[in-house]
Amino acid sequence: MTFASERYASRRDTLAFIVCLLLSVAARMTPAAWHDRVSDGLRGTLLRPLVAMQGWAESVRTTRRRFARVVAERDSAVVVATLAEALREENAQLRAVLGLRERLPARHVAAEVLHQSLPTDGYTLLISAGSRQGVRVLAPVIAPGGLVGVVRSVGGSTSVVVAWAHPDFRASAMTADGAVFGIAGPYGGADPGSLLLELRGVPYREELIPGTRVYTSGLATGEGGIYPRGIPIGTILSVGEEMAGWARTYLVLPAVHPASISHVIVLLDTRVELTGAFAAPQP
């Protein structure tokens, strides 16, 4: 460890700086497959104890929160007669969070989201499940509210998920009745609605009213397709763009916000229908 005995940047300092800059630029320009290999390697070696520590901290935090919730429920039971309605509502919310796993007709793994400090956190998510838990690349990732994204790379005990907010994300989507299809992707507009999705390529003759729910279509699942049918993607907000006489693009309010979720479920089977697994949205 060097200390600043001289308070100026020497030629050696400048050289070190330039080398590091060049290495950074080289890393930035290398192919994505190489990024994933290096990232997986670093997470499996140098970062492994640190990520394990973070996973442990997340588990403890969750356990404490659940304990507090149980204590609160116990206390609530004392005044159940007066608070029956509130308790029912709370229970409904708890079931929504905890019950999804029971309703899923597919093999799955639950994982914690290990949020990072870089401002790009939310475009990808690091989760606390990897190949040891059976996670594989291109496995769909969901939360109690709906679709989160897809697994991009898998390490031993962690995986990287590309969330729907990532510019590369696309999913084949449909309405609940299966009458209208389109492609869902992140909305890249330059207004505060940039935390939205958009549904592209909806035929001009089909009109979707605000409030219509959008689900994954499950097209070609198991034959190159990724997402099983019936995972909520979001709710139609408004028409975003019209391609004269040909197709419309709709803005979609996402069912899940990647930056604010703490737990996800990774689906290990994709040839399933999930429409019945998700609770209807609260009015």
Binding site: T2, E6, L21, Q116
Partner: protein
């Protein structure tokens, strides 16, 4: 204080910050405004190191950050390299023992890091970039500066830093 003991103490403080980043940070709620202990460790190191050493430390921290958030691999390394180098270089030229100046140093370092990651990555654009740079990054920079001031106050002897009010 001899240099060897000083180096060990600095390492201990840096290690503490790294551990806090992975254990305390998950407890602080929304991760967007939560303090970034890793960039703080880099800036504390830059207070004591030569610019070249701080650049190498920045590159290492940035690369590890990129491995955890591989949205724009290399952007984090680039940003931390620049911040580490400039922080050590700037500290050498505009050295101050004032607590407010140090807080500003931590704030600016964190905000500039976010700016470079976002611009270098190129994934965040338009109003979302503005929101990130004018809301979330300043909030994170402020909480990081607050923690940084606390670290300086608590460990000023270990870090051999004289602080005036």
């Amino acid at each position: 204080m001899n240099a060897k003991r000083g180096a060990y103490r600095l390492r201990a403080v840096l290690l503490l910050l790294v551990v806090l980043h992975f254990t305390l940070r998950p407890w602080l709620g929304d991760p967007r405004p939560a303090p970034d202990f890793l960039v703080l460790a880099l800036l504390v190191y830059a207070l004591r190191a030569r610019p070249g050493g701080a650049a190498v430390a920045g590159f290492t921290i940035g690369l590890l950050g990129d491995a955890l958030t591989p949205v724009a691999f290399g952007a984090g390394a680039l940003a931390h390299t620049v911040v580490g180098y400039l922080a050590a270089w700037g500290k050498a030229i505009f050295f101050a023992e004032n607590l407010a100046v140090n807080a500003g140093f931590f704030f600016a370092g964190t905000w500039v890091r976010d700016l470079l990651v976002l611009v270098g990555g190129g994934h965040v654009q338009g109003t979302e970039l503005v929101w990130q740079l004018l809301l979330w990054s300043p909030l994170k920079a402020a909480t990081t500066a607050l923690v940084g001031v606390m670290v300086l106050l608590i460990f000023r002897r270990w870090l051999a830093i004289r602080i005036t009010e």
